[in-house]
């Protein structure tokens, strides 16, 4: 394998929860994700997958160890710097779509780009249309987000995650609410993003099939990594 460009790395990351009692939810987590890699994270319920993902997302800053995103040490950075970094480099897809129901699909997709301000409004609109087209939603663009089906809403959320061409797309059970057909659509898009645009996917999933077809699967158990390259045989 040729030298890979690492876009996401943790060094000995650990975390405590203090409520209701102090316990070490994550311990000694050292992982890395390469550019263009489709990485999945599996493990039993309560093993700490979501907790880890929130640390990687920079939204949760209460941990020990170090996290690097795109060669930048994010550990210890100020909230506003982290927000700017998320805006530019990370796209999020959750189990729930979290679209703003008052806004059209198009406007929802545009929001992170309007915040970033790298393009004019017109350019942003064109780009948003392209992302929606890629997800097969072009004809739904002007509908209010609340008027779409669950699968469509999830795809709009993915389009929104992609609008700023982030280096990393993080998903916490992004297909958790979807049927097998929609799951397949999302999977194919993720695959395409890694292959065609060199974006990195880090997705927590309970779907073994989904994990099996990803590039690499990390397995967690009781807050530790027990397998960095799991193969569903």
């Amino acid at each position: 394998m040729s030298a890979q460009e690492i876009v996401l790395q943790t060094k000995n990351v650990g975390k405590y929860f203090y409520d209701p009692e102090k316990f070490r939810v994550l311990n000694n987590i050292s992982i890395q994700a390469n550019k263009g890699e489709f990485l999945t994270l599996i493990g039993k319920s309560g093993s700490g997958k979501s907790t880890l993902l929130y640390l990687l997302s920079t939204m949760d800053t209460d941990y020990d160890g170090e996290i690097f995103i795109d060669d930048i040490k994010v550990t210890g950075m100020h909230q506003n710097q982290l927000a700017a970094l998320r805006n530019e480099k990370i796209g999020f897809v959750f189990q729930f779509h979290y679209l703003l129901p008052e806004f059209s699909c198009l406007k929802n997709v545009m929001i992170p780009a309007l915040r970033l301000g790298n393009y004019t409004r017109k350019e942003i609109e064109e780009r948003a249309y392209k992302k929606l087209e890629m997800l097969g939603l072009k004809d739904q663009a002007l509908k209010p987000a609340s008027k779409l089906s669950g699968g469509q809403q999830q795809r709009v959320a993915i389009a929104r995650a992609l609008i700023n061409d982030p280096k990393i797309i993080m998903g916490d059970e992004p297909t958790g609410n979807l049927d097998s057909k929609n799951t397949q659509i999302v999977f194919d898009i993720f695959k395409q993003l890694t292959r065609e645009f060199g974006q990195t996917i880090v997705a927590v999933t309970h779907d073994n099939d989904f994990a099996e077809h990803s590039d690499r699967t990390i397995v967690m158990q009781d807050g530790v990594i027990i397998d960095q390259n799991f193969k569903v045989s």
Binding site: Y54, M59, A84, L85, L114, R115, G117, T120
Partner: protein, 415 residues
């Protein structure tokens, strides 16, 4: 790294929140409308009251009055040390004339002071206006009418005859309408007055005036100062009061203190001379300020409420916006803007409503000493209302907005 383009997405979001809550927004705005209208209206009213009250005072009272205060006698010997024999003293008012020594040089001195507009001597004397067998007691003020007019604007409340005739008619008298009616005299008639020294003079009524102050209107008349001196059997250097007007009557107390030091006589400013009126005015001010601010504050709570509601309903939006890179400041901007938009709608309508209220009330006749309701368009109160309305609106938005900015998105996504 600065963004190349600034898109105001925060205000788009706040506007969408307003649009989805039209009804509540209108109610909150209506609260501000009423709050601001009442605030501006009440404060304009207070300003009107204050103005009529000072205008009324300045019809007969100068900004500063210089006179010789009563002196109390001092013990001939100083109090001896404690334990030793004590001198019994019985302090009394010194039986001396309340007369200003060398008044002309005092007047000249005062005239040369900064910001002094009018200086004029005055001699007051209690008189009886004789009408057949009955006598009406009153107060006659001996003045130099030209100067007194500059000070009290006497000309403006003369209702009959000519004030200036007092200059040429040595024994002329400018009589208040109330007395004239009781005595059944008109301009051109003669009346006799009797002074406290039992000097009787025949006076020629040169004009009638009305001040709309019920006390003044039942007693006062203006005569030439020389005649007043004659009524008191004094010579022409007998001056009891020197009246001074200054440019800034609100600072009269400062001038008074200075003049007192300068001349050695007591200088009393108009506020001190009208303590009761001033106290009533102060009380009115406190009450109106309290009430109008409370109403404005209640209006602020309306906005505060709608914002709290929006924030708890839109907590998911806040979480995802923060996840996508909105900073705390961006979130605050969304909600403060929402509050300000509601507030500005309310303010604009409220200021309009205040104008209507002021206009309506300005045409209401209340009679008495007041006449028409003493209220008018007060730009300073509009400015103040706008300012306080803005500040309250801002904080009604900022306090909940700061809470929204502190939302931990992870705790929302975990639900």
């Amino acid at each position: 790294m600065k963004p190349k383009h600034k898109h105001n997405i925060s205000s788009e979001i706040s506007i969408s929140y307003i649009v989805t809550k039209k009804k509540l927004t209108m109610i909150a705005a209506l609260g501000v409308t009423l709050g601001i209208a009442i605030f501006v209206f009440m404060n304009s009213m207070m300003k009107g009251f204050d103005r009529t009250s000072t205008e009324g005072i300045f019809k007969t009272v100068p900004h500063i009055r210089l006179f010789k205060d009563d002196e109390t006698s001092k013990p001939l010997a100083q109090q001896i040390q404690k334990g030793e024999e004590t001198v019994i003293v019985n302090p009394r008012i010194v039986p001396e004339n309340n007369v200003l020594v060398n008044p002309n040089s005092l007047i000249a001195l005062l005239q040369h002071q900064d910001q002094v507009t009018v200086v004029t001597p005055q001699v007051n004397t209690n008189v009886f206006y004789n009408s057949g067998k009955s006598q009406i007691s009153g107060l006659s003020t001996g003045v130099n009418i030209a100067e007194a007019d500059r000070m009290f604007n006497i000309r403006s409340y003369v209702v009959e005859g000519n004030m200036d005739d007092l200059k040429s008619v040595q024994n002329g008298i400018l009589l208040v309408v109330g007395i004239a009616q009781k005595m059944n005299v008109r301009t051109g008639d003669n009346i006799t007055i009797t002074s406290s020294r039992n000097v009787i003079k025949v006076m020629k009524v040169v004009g009638l005036f009305r001040t709309n102050n019920s006390v003044t209107d039942k007693s006062r008349s203006y005569i030439n100062i020389s005649l007043a001196q004659q009524l008191l059997q004094k010579n022409s250097s007998y001056i009891t009061d020197i009246n001074v007007n200054v440019t800034e009557f609100d600072n009269a107390a400062d001038y008074a203190a200075r003049f007192s030091k300068l001349t050695g006589y007591k200088a009393e400013d108009w506020k001190a001379a009208n303590e009761t009126l001033m106290a009533a005015g102060k009380m009115r001010k406190i009450i109106i300020t309290l009430i109008s601010f409370s109403i404005l504050l209640v209006a602020g709570f309306g906005i505060y409420n709608i914002l709290n509601m929006t924030i708890s309903q839109k907590i998911n939006d806040i979480a995802i916006l923060k996840a996508m890179g909105f900073k705390g400041g961006d979130v605050i901007r969304i909600f403060v803007q929402q509050a300000l938009i509601i507030g500005m709608i309310g303010l604009a309508i409220g200021l309009l409503l205040a104008t209507v209220l002021v206009n309506v009330l300005a045409h209401v006749y209340v009679g008495g000493d007041i006449g028409y309701f003493p209220i008018r368009f007060e730009p300073s109160m509009y400015a103040r209302g706008f300012l306080f309305g803005f500040i309250i609106t801002f904080f009604a938005g900022y306090i909940p907005a700061r809470k929204a900015a502190d939302v931990d998105p992870v705790s929302i996504f975990r639900k």
